[in-house]
Symmetry: C2
Subunit: 270 residues, 2 copies
């Protein structure tokens, strides 16, 4: 038996989330069916993170044990030949037998795109949250800075999470903007249930002037869930990268506007 | 009565093309229904160009006469409030009574995206043609240069076109590439039926080495339709801009890689 790690991308638009469920189309369900076809065995799949309905992934990671004789470097092409076109396996690696896609992740990078344009943008409708207010990006950045560091993020965790320890370390939050687009990137050692979308909803409240950066500090300190912004809609969110070693996330070169849309990292010239 | 010009964008993925037809969802059908709702009158719509099923538009132009009292600058928001989310009106302008969206167009700009990656790219599956061969971009550029100028493009016109005069002036063809992506931009005073997709299919044959730039010159000179490449699939094509005055198309700054994906013009850093 070998342990294999897969990195996959998917457009979450037409999936009922990652986790397999009866009678609905899920990423895990499609992937397990493809693995069954290619490997001829039912594998136990461990995922780095479960994304919700409509949430995208550029760098989701899964691991599983297999007895297949197919060379690891052949697995992506073999799996992609049977996977639906809204998902793709980008990389396959042999990993130690004790590798665990979730437990061994040292950090996750999520990105969220806001669209502030007066006109609807048909081509990013599935990949952004359209807002009808102007955003004070500087205030959003100040509020984001309050979240950086080791904190109890209970206020930003949606109800119904079984997780007891809600202390996480936010390594950084970058917010870049250009005209009608605002991109929020958060890097943490872990994210609670809907934590990223709660943070985005709260930062949008700050951008609108409904909350101040100081309010965000208080919300965090007092676990004041009721004052947290609405959970941002799923389609603006993408699981960008799962990190298993020292953090190597792309930085924005000074002065440039880096934006990540689901199909890749781009610099926008509007 | 006034004459109004609308500029609209649409994601062609879920439309059976632009032109209204019974029992299928078309861009024109949705737009006329929205105009009917907002203006309370049935208008006669003139479009700059009819895009086929699956073809996208960033700058489609339509014109119509109307007796509405709604201020022109209010029309985009009014129409977008009732239009489906995969299309949007970006601009509305008052134009002279004799304005004709098709006859008065001095040039059209189409762009086409090729994806050469070894791994499927879920997020651009509806906006690119995935190829499984390496492309000789320099040869493609040489072949494209053969098409620039005033020529009889009969060889690049799909069968069944009623158009008699097949002479068009190709003002320029730009081809830019970066790793797995190749973008082809063509600017002409007019395009025959499926002409852009025939040109792309032929340039891809050149990129593969199946045809040489000299072959393309001969095909053009001899109206040799059988040697023209296959019509490229629709999803990689976007009607980028319709020009009504002197050409003001975005140029690629030297050394940079400019790529247009359906939702906008971007510089890619892969």
């Amino acid at each position: 038996m070998r342990k294999v790690k897969l990195t996959l991308a998917y457009d979450g638009t037409e999936f009922a989330g990652f986790q397999v469920q009866p009678n609905v189309r899920t990423v895990q369900g499609e992937l397990m069916s493809a693995l069954d076809t290619i490997l001829g065995e039912k594998v136990k799949l461990i995922a780095a993170g479960r994304t919700d309905t409509g949430v995208h992934a550029r760098g989701q990671v899964v691991s599983f044990r297999t007895a297949t004789s197919i060379p690891t470097d052949r697995l992506p092409a073999a799996l992609n030949s049977v996977l639906p076109r809204d998902m793709a396996v980008w990389q396959a690696e042999d990993v130690p037998a004790d590798f665990h896609a979730r437990h061994h992740a040292t950090a996750k990078i999520y990105r969220y795109l806001l669209y502030l344009g007066r006109t609807p943008a048909p081509f990013i409708r599935h990949y952004s949250w359209r807002l009808f207010w102007a955003m004070d990006v500087k205030a959003m950045q100040e509020a984001a800075a309050e979240l950086v560091g080791k904190h109890d993020f209970t206020a930003f965790c949606a109800a119904g999470s079984p997780v007891k320890n809600k202390v996480r370390t936010m390594q950084r939050i970058h917010i870049v903007s250009d005209r009608d687009l605002v991109l929020i990137e958060a890097v943490a050692d872990g994210f609670l249930y809907k934590m990223m979308r709660s943070i985005v909803g709260t930062l949008v409240k700050v951008g609108r002037g409904v909350l101040t950066p100081e309010d965000v500090r208080d919300i965090l300190a007092q676990n004041d869930r009721p004052r947290v912004g609405p959970t941002a809609p799923p389609q603006g969110l993408i699981l960008w990268q799962v990190v298993y070693d020292n953090l190597t996330a792309p930085e924005d070169t000074p002065g440039s506007i880096g934006l990540t849309l689901p199909w890749g990292y781009v610099k926008i010239s509007l």
